[in-house]
Assembly symmetry: C2
């Protein structure tokens, strides 16, 4: 049996046919952006699983497997809370201009199918109304057209992301090639009420899920770096810096982690939803707490149908893999993040907060 | 026991605190529009039930009763298929300007909650890309601010509506005051693959659900008019005019009927969903077929919480009433419609197709 391992780019673009693009605006009150996952022109079979208590979504009802439309042409992930749903309008218009969409009859009579979800990042750049609009979605599509590996860290929809303890969130991604050659990969926009770091040890909750090579290629992480338990003095300092909970023990802010889990194996719409469901197990292992009432955690499942349909044994592996690529993507988002300061505050990167963790 | 009867305006605005506004564009390739239902400033408890096979929706996941947000500030109903989801962005920005939204902390830090759904009406004015954007939603909000009864017929989101047989759809509404004083009312945007007219008799399927006064105040319907079985020659002519199904017996177009069922009785979020569920029974009685794979039929349930919570007996009546106001709203939409011609075709009104039906 072949060994499991990450794909060549170790990100969502290892699923052939998918492209990832970002657009963001930072400074002058802004700290937000949008990310688009472009499906192949014929679309990808889609599903969704919404497990956070405060979701912001669009076009998720059509993904119910009992419904007509089976393929989506893009997934729009954005900052801006519910205002950021507007990014998807720009993605739709961009796709229409490219001649991509659900065919309705005559030439050019297309309706691009663009489900989407948003994270809460309002005010983190200083201005409440500095939110993505349709132009962000269109610009992210243009960026995706350039091809290549997905940019990770403080980019796109992850630009304003944070996690508990005043740490910076962002975009992470990871891929896995299964025995037999099917690929499963995830891209997450990490922004959580919970933390990715165990406050008792300073270790990343899902560090044990990492594969060899997962630290390679991350911005700011030296080649050959390995994770180790950080020094106690750093752990203590992080605990002291971590913001106390708000009045009544409530979180001080809303959050939300969103993303896409995808495979080239041919899945039915209900199986694409199952892929997203398994992805949430990976989120649960990497973020504590996950799926809170103050998160809108939402994952989309996509199948490009580029390979054969899985038999039950392979589907079983694929779903385990879906959980793992989400866990690894969350860890990689945490490690790729960089410290950001705005008039609204400072979010320290894990690397800056725990410099001894990367030996 | 008091008699059941329609409220003073016999439309959704009989639920105190709700306002209805429309905006539309007709001519030069356009035949579409948007409708907004404005909740009171503090919001209305909301639920949703999506029963069509091709829905186009936004912010429906947050309405799941297991989730955090319980109140919505407006519901956006629009033409333009998925492109028309953009109307809700304009509604959000308008509400923010009014200081309405879910409070997130400091002054002005609000997120307006605006679930929405769309109908398929693309190309009916002649141009595929003539679709509502955010400005339509904002203009509909301004119209709603003027107050007064809801305009019915070929207005707002119903501007491009149609039903089977080449008949015109549009906006309908009806209300019901229950024994004890609670009001339940519906507003529907009628646009269906199915028909509201029995092709064997020319009668409206749900005519038997009408209450005294339901024909009053409809545009083009003479005071004191009553419904009767239309002359056989009209029924035969309508059958001949009705378009044959498309290749393979498929409908020639997508459609979708959307709307809002509301009450002033105080409902929990799960009961608001139940209100929408019962509303779909009224749709099933008034439109045949309803809820097809080529419709995205979606109803929202709203409670303004202006009156007491219903006991089980009153809730039972309220849910029966929810079905009936939807049936009556569909009939009234059919009767209020006027004939429309564009470069893409002619849609005849029921009144023009069956002139003898209104005696």
């Amino acid at each position: 049996m072949e060994a499991w391992g990450a794909g060549p780019s170790n990100d969502l673009t290892d699923v052939e046919g998918l492209a990832v693009g970002h657009h963001q605006q930072v400074g002058d009150g802004w700290l937000t952006g949008s990310t688009v996952v472009l499906a192949p022109p014929e679309g990808a079979v889609g599903g969704v699983d919404v497990r956070g208590g405060g979701p912001g979504t669009r076009e998720t009802d059509l993904l119910d497997p009992v419904n007509l439309v089976e393929r989506v042409h893009a997934v729009s992930l954005s900052g801006g809370s519910a205002f950021g749903l507007a990014a998807a309008d720009g993605v739709m218009r961009w796709l229409l201009g490219q001649g991509r969409g659900f065919p309705m009859g005559g030439p050019g009579e297309l309706v691009p199918i663009v489900p989407g979800a948003v994270i809460f990042d309002l005010g983190r750049g200083g201005r409440w109304d500095a939110v993505p609009d349709g132009s962000f979605g269109a610009a992210a599509c243009e960026d995706a057209l350039r091809g290549g590996p997905a940019a990770l860290g403080v980019v796109g929809a992850g630009t304003g992301g944070q996690v508990a303890g005043g740490l910076k969130g962002g975009v992470g991604s990871a891929s896995l090639v299964l025995p037999g050659g099917a690929t499963v990969a995830a891209l997450v926009v990490l922004n959580a009420v919970g933390s990715t770091v165990d406050p008792r040890t300073g270790e990343l909750y899902a560090a044990s899920r990492l594969l060899p090579g997962d630290l390679e290629g991350l911005p700011g992480v030296a080649p050959g770096a390995r994770l180790r338990t950080p020094d106690a003095v750093e752990v203590e300092a992080a605990r002291e810096r971590a913001a106390e909970p708000g009045p009544g023990g409530l979180p001080r802010t809303l959050a939300t982690t969103i993303g896409v889990v995808a495979t080239d194996a041919t899945l039915a719409p209900a199986q694409a939803r199952r892929l997203a469901m398994s992805g949430h197990d990976g989120l649960a292992r990497a973020v504590l707490p996950a799926h809170s009432m103050f998160d809108g955690d939402t994952l989309f499942g996509l199948s490009t149908c580029g390979g054969p349909a899985p038999d039950p044994a392979l589907l079983h592996l694929l779903l385990q893999g879906a959980a793992d690529v989400v866990s690894r993507a969350v860890v990689r988002a945490t490690l790729a993040a960089e410290t950001v300061s705005t008039p609204a505050g400072t979010w320290r990167s894990y690397r800056e907060a725990f410099p001894s963790a990367l030996g």
